[in-house]
Amino acid sequence: MATVHLQDSHTRFTDGVKVLEVEGATIGQIIDALEAAHPGIGHLLREGSSFAVDGELQPRGTFLAAVPDGSEVHFLIPITGG
C-alpha cells in the first residue's frame, strides 16, 4: 500500500480527491489500480507524468520502479529540460 499524491489536474478523474491509498508494488501496478478505480486517469499518468517515490525523482517511463510498502508516490507534471 502506498500513499499516492495527485496533481489538481488529475483530480477530475477522482471526484476531486488528491491523496489516495493505493495497492501496488510498482509504479505500473499503482497506475493500473488507479485506472481500475478511476477510469481515464491511467493514460494521463502513463503518458503525461513524471513521478517521485519517497521524494526521489524517477526517470520517465520507469513503470517497473519499485514502490516499497508505505511509500509516498507523487505523480508530477512531466519534467523536461534544456
Partner: protein, 743 residues
C-alpha cells in the same frame, strides 16, 4: 575575479581543472562542426519557406524547379508519411515540413537539392506555392479570446480528452492550503502583471546536417544536435523508417541551450538524398534560425503574494500564461512547477499554454522558469522593501529545505538553496557599498534537473591508457567531466584518458543532453563502467600474484597485495592477454535521483535617466553544483546562463509586424549581449553534494539563466524607484517607465 568555495578536498582528480581534451582542436579550427563536413558528390539543399505567418496551402507546383539546371531532387510535405495526430512526433513532423497548413512565417513548405548552392537557391525560388492566407494569431490573449481564429487546426489541448480544435495547448491548476485565508492573515499584499517576449537561444552555430542514403536504403547522417539518438528516432518516426536504417554521427555542436533538443533538417536531407542518390548538405542561415527554430516562450503572468510584517511569506496566487508557439507543449506548466523556492503554505496557480503563429517553441536552459521567477522574485523584492527587511534574510527565512514541497506537492530532496544565498551574503560584492548613483538587485532561481538513460563503454588500452565512450553530445565540457570521473574511479591521470562521443551504432542508447543530465547520468554510467573495470583489474592482479581476489585492494590506480610491489594499471593491461583478454566494460542505466540546483545572483546597475540605458556595473552568480567535477566548466555554465539571462532582461525580443513577419531576424537587429557590454561575471560555486550521485553531481547547465531577469529588474527598481514588470528593459521601455513615474 572568479571565486570558488573549495570544500575539504575529497578527491584527487574530481574538482581539478585540466585542459579540456577537445580544446586544442577547437582553438585551432580543426574540430568539425556539421557545416565543415563535405562528401564526394555532395549536393547542396535549400528549404522553401512560407512568406506568410498563417495560411492553408492550396497547391505546390515544383515542376519548374525540377527542370532547372543542376537540380537533382525536390521534396514537399506530400513526400512524408502522415502521422496520427496523437503520435508523439506529430508536431515535429509537421514542423519539419508543412502539410496543408502553414503555422508561422518561415515554415518549411518544400526543399530542393542541386549541384551547387546557387542552383539550389534559384530552384527554390521557382517553386510555386498557392496559399489561402489567414490572419495570424500572434499574442497570448488573442489566442485565448472568444471566437479566436484557430492558429493550428491540428492542436488538441494536452490530456483534456477533447478532440476539438483549440488554441489552448494546456491547462493545469496547482494548489495547496487556502489562499483566501492566507491573504486574510497577511499584513502585506503585493501584486503585479508581468510580461516577457519570445527570445531565441542564440547558439552561434546554425542548424546543419549532411545526409547520405546508400544503395542499401540506409542513411548516414552527420548533424549538430543535443541528442543524436533522438535525432535518429525522430527522423525514423517522421520518415516512417525503422531506426536501423539511420546512423547518426554527432558533429561538434556550437551551442544548443535547449534549442537543439529537437530536429528541423535531417528527415528533409535524408529524403532529398534518397531521391537524388547523392549526399545532401543542408545548413540553415542565421535568418532561417531566427525565423524558423524554437524560441523560448513569451509569457503573461499575474501574480499576488502575501506576507506578514515579520517576513513570513504566507500566500501565492498566480495566473501563468505561456505561448508554446505553433504546437502544444508543457511551457506554462513548467513555469508553475518552477516556483519551488519558498514554502508558501497557501498557493494557487492556474496555467494556460497557448498556440500562436510563431515558431514552435523550444527549451532555453531551464525551460519556462526564468519567466515565472521574474514575477515571483520581483514581488518578493517588493515585500522586502515594504517590510524593510534585507532581501536575502527574507528569502532565507522562507526558503525550502529538504522535505519542503514544490508547487507540485512533491518534497525536495537534499538541496542547497540557503547555502547558495548565504554565499552571496558572505561575498565581497554584497559587503561592498553600492556605487554612487547605482542600484543593487538580488534574485534567485531554481531548476529540477533530470536523470534519464545513458550508456558508457570504457576500454583500457594495452599501455594503460583508457578510452571513455559515451553517447552524450558535449555542449558544455562533458568530455572533460567524463574523463575526470573515470580518472577518479580508476585512479588514472585524466590526460591518459581519451573521452569520445560516439555515433548511434558505436555506443548504447543515450537520451538527449538536456535537463543538466549529462554529467549526472552519463557520468554515473561512466563511473559504473569504471567500477566494473576496477573489480576486473583486481581479479587479474589476483591471478598474477597467485592470491584470492579478496586479498587485493585497489589504491590510487594500483592493485595492492601484501608482500608484493603494487601492480599499476599499465602493468595489468600489459599482461591482459595472459589473464583473460582485453579489459573493457559497458554500463547503461536509467538514472533516478537527479539533484535540483538553486542559484542566487547579485547585480549592480546604473540607469541613464536621459536614455533609459541600463549598464551592468558588477554581477555575481552563486550556484549549487552539488560537486563541481571540472570547476572551470561549471563557472562557464554559470557565466553563460547569466549573460543569456541578462540579454533576455535588457535587450532581446522578437519583433513581429502586424501580419506576423519577424522584423529582426539577424544578430544586428536581435541584440544579444557581447563581451564589451558586460563586466566579468563573478562566480561562486556552492557544493552541497547530491546523495544520489557517486560524486555528488547535480548538473549546472540550466539554473544559471533563471535569476538574471528578476535580479536585474530588482536592481533597476533599486536604482530608479520604478518597478519594471515588462521585458525587455530596453532603453525606450525604461525611459518611458521613468518618465511615466515622474508624471
Amino acid at each position: 575575479m572568479t571565486a570558488t568555495e573549495n570544500p575539504p578536498k575529497k578527491y584527487k582528480y574530481v574538482g581539478t581543472r585540466p585542459i579540456r581534451h577537445d580544446g586544442l582542436d577547437k582553438v585551432i579550427g580543426k574540430a568539425r562542426f556539421a557545416a565543415d563536413l563535405n562528401l564526394p558528390g555532395q549536393l547542396r539543399a535549400v528549404i522553401v519557406r512560407s512568406p506568410h505567418a498563417h495560411a492553408r496551402i492550396v497547391s505546390i507546383d515544383t515542376s519548374a524547379a525540377e527542370a532547372m539546371p543542376g537540380v537533382k531532387s525536390v521534396v514537399t510535405g506530400a513526400d512524408f508519411p502522415e502521422l496520427d495526430i496523437n503520435h508523439a512526433t506529430f508536431d515535429e513532423s509537421v514542423n519539419v515540413m508543412a502539410r496543408d497548413e502553414v503555422l508561422y512565417h518561415g515554415h518549411a513548405v518544400a526543399a530542393v537539392a542541386a549541384t551547387t548552392i546557387g542552383e539550389a537557391r534559384a530552384a527554390a525560388a521557382a517553386v510555386v506555392v498557392e496559399y489561402d492566407v489567414i490572419d495570424p494569431v500572434m499574442e497570448i490573449e488573442d489566442a485565448l479570446a472568444d471566437g479566436a481564429i484557430i492558429a493550428n487546426t491540428k492542436n488538441r489541448t494536452l490530456f483534456m480528452g477533447s478532440d476539438d480544435e483549440s488554441n489552448l495547448a494546456s491547462f493545469a491548476p496547482f494548489s495547496r492550503g487556502d489562499v483566501d485565508e492566507g491573504f486574510g492573515s497577511a499584513d502585506v499584499v503585493v501584486e503585479g502583471h508581468f510580461t516577457t517576449r519570445f527570445v531565441h537561444q542564440g547558439y552561434i552555430e546554425p542548424h546543419g546536417c549532411v545526409a547520405d542514403v546508400g544503395q542499401d536504403g540506409k542513411a548516414s547522417v552527420w548533424g549538430s544536435s543535443q541528442g543524436h539518438f533522438a535525432m535518429r528516432s525522430k527522423s525514423a518516426d517522421i520518415l516512417g523508417w525503422s531506426t536501423d536504417r539511420i546512423k547518426v554521427t554527432p558533429a561538434e555542436i556550437g551551442g544548443g541551450f535547449g534549442g537543439k533538443t529537437t530536429i528541423y533538417l535531417e528527415p528533409v536531407a535524408i529524403l532529398l538524398s534518397q531521391k537524388a542518390a547523392r549526399p545532401v548538405k543542408l545548413i540553415m542561415s542565421r535568418e532561417e534560425v531566427l525565423r524558423a527554430t524554437g524560441p523560448a516562450p513569451a509569457a503573461e503572468i499575474t501574480c499576488k503574494l502575501g506576507a506578514t510584517n515579520d517576513g513570513e511569506l504566507t500566500t501565492m496566487q498566480a495566473t501563468m500564461k505561456y505561448s508554446n508557439g505553433s504546437a502544444k507543449g508543457y511551457a506554462a506548466m513548467l513555469g508553475a512547477m518552477s516556483t519551488a523556492s519558498y514554502k508558501f503554505p497557501n498557493l494557487s496557480i492556474e496555467t494556460f499554454g497557448t498556440i500562436n503563429n510563431i515558431p514552435r517553441s523550444a527549451a532555453y536552459r531551464a525551460p519556462s522558469a526564468p519567466q515565472a521567477a521574474f514575477a515571483v522574485e520581483s514581488l518578493v523584492d517588493e515585500i522586502a522593501k515594504a517590510i524593510d527587511m534585507d532581501p536575502i534574510d527574507l528569502r532565507v527565512k522562507n526558503a525550502v529545505v529538504e522535505g519542503d514541497l514544490t508547487a507540485m506537492g512533491a518534497p525536495h530532496p537534499k538541496i542547497g538553496f540557503i547555502e547558495t544565498m548565504n554565499a552571496i551574503k558572505d561575498s565581497e560584492h554584497y559587503n561592498s557599498p553600492v556605487p554612487e548613483g547605482a542600484g543593487r538587485g538580488f534574485g534567485t532561481g531554481f531548476w529540477f534537473n533530470i536523470g534519464e538513460q545513458s550508456s558508457a563503454t570504457v576500454n583500457l588500452n594495452e599501455d594503460g591508457t583508457a578510452t571513455v565512450i559515451t553517447g552524450s553530445p558535449d555542449i558544455g565540457g562533458s568530455r572533460a567531466s567524463m574523463a575526470l570521473m573515470a580518472a577518479e574511479t580508476l585512479g588514472l591521470d585524466p590526460m591518459r584518458i581519451t573521452p569520445i562521443v560516439a555515433d548511434t551504432e558505436s555506443v548504447g542508447f543515450t537520451d538527449i543532453t538536456e535537463g543538466s543530465r549529462a554529467t549526472f547520468a552519463t557520468g554515473m554510467a561512466v563511473t559504473n563502467a569504471c567500477l566494473e573495470l576496477v573489480a576486473e583489474m583486481k581479479s587479474r592482479a589476483a591471478v598474477l600474484r597467485g592470491v584470492e581476489v579478496d586479498a587485493v585492494e585497489w589504491v590510487d590506480g594500483a592493485a595492492i597485495v601484501d608482500g608484493h610491489d603494487p601492480l599499476t594499471i599499465p602493468e595489468i593491461t600489459a599482461q591482459a592477454k595472459m589473464t583473460g583478454g582485453p579489459l573493457t566494460s559497458t554500463a547503461s542505466l536509467n538514472a533516478a535521483g537527479a539533484g535540483p540546483s538553486f542559484a542566487a545572483h547579485l547585480a549592480d546597475v546604473r540607469v541613464d535617466e536621459e536614455t533609459g540605458q541600463v549598464e551592468i556595473l558588477r554581477y555575481t552568480a552563486a550556484q549549487d553544483a552539488g560537486t563541481a567535477i571540472h570547476p572551470s566548466y561549471v563557472e562557464g555554465q554559470m557565466q553563460g546562463g547569466s549573460v543569456q539571462g541578462i540579454g533576455w532582461a535588457l535587450n532581446e525580443e522578437y519583433v513581429y509586424s502586424d501580419d506576423g513577419v519577424l522584423e529582426n531576424a539577424s544578430f544586428l537587429d536581435y541584440r544579444m549581449p557581447v563581451a564589451s557590454d558586460l563586466p566579468m561575471i563573478e562566480t561562486i560555486i556552492v557544493e552541497v553534494p547530491n546523495p544520489s550521485h557517486p560524486y555528488g553531481v547535480r548538473g549546472v547547465g540550466e539554473t544559471g539563466i533563471v535569476p538574471p531577469l528578476n535580479t536585474i529588474a530588482n536592481a533597476v527598481s533599486d536604482a530608479t524607484g520604478v518597478r519594471m514588470r515588462n521585458l525587455p528593459m530596453s532603453p525606450p521601455t525604461v525611459l518611458k517607465a521613468i518618465n511615466d513615474a515622474k508624471g
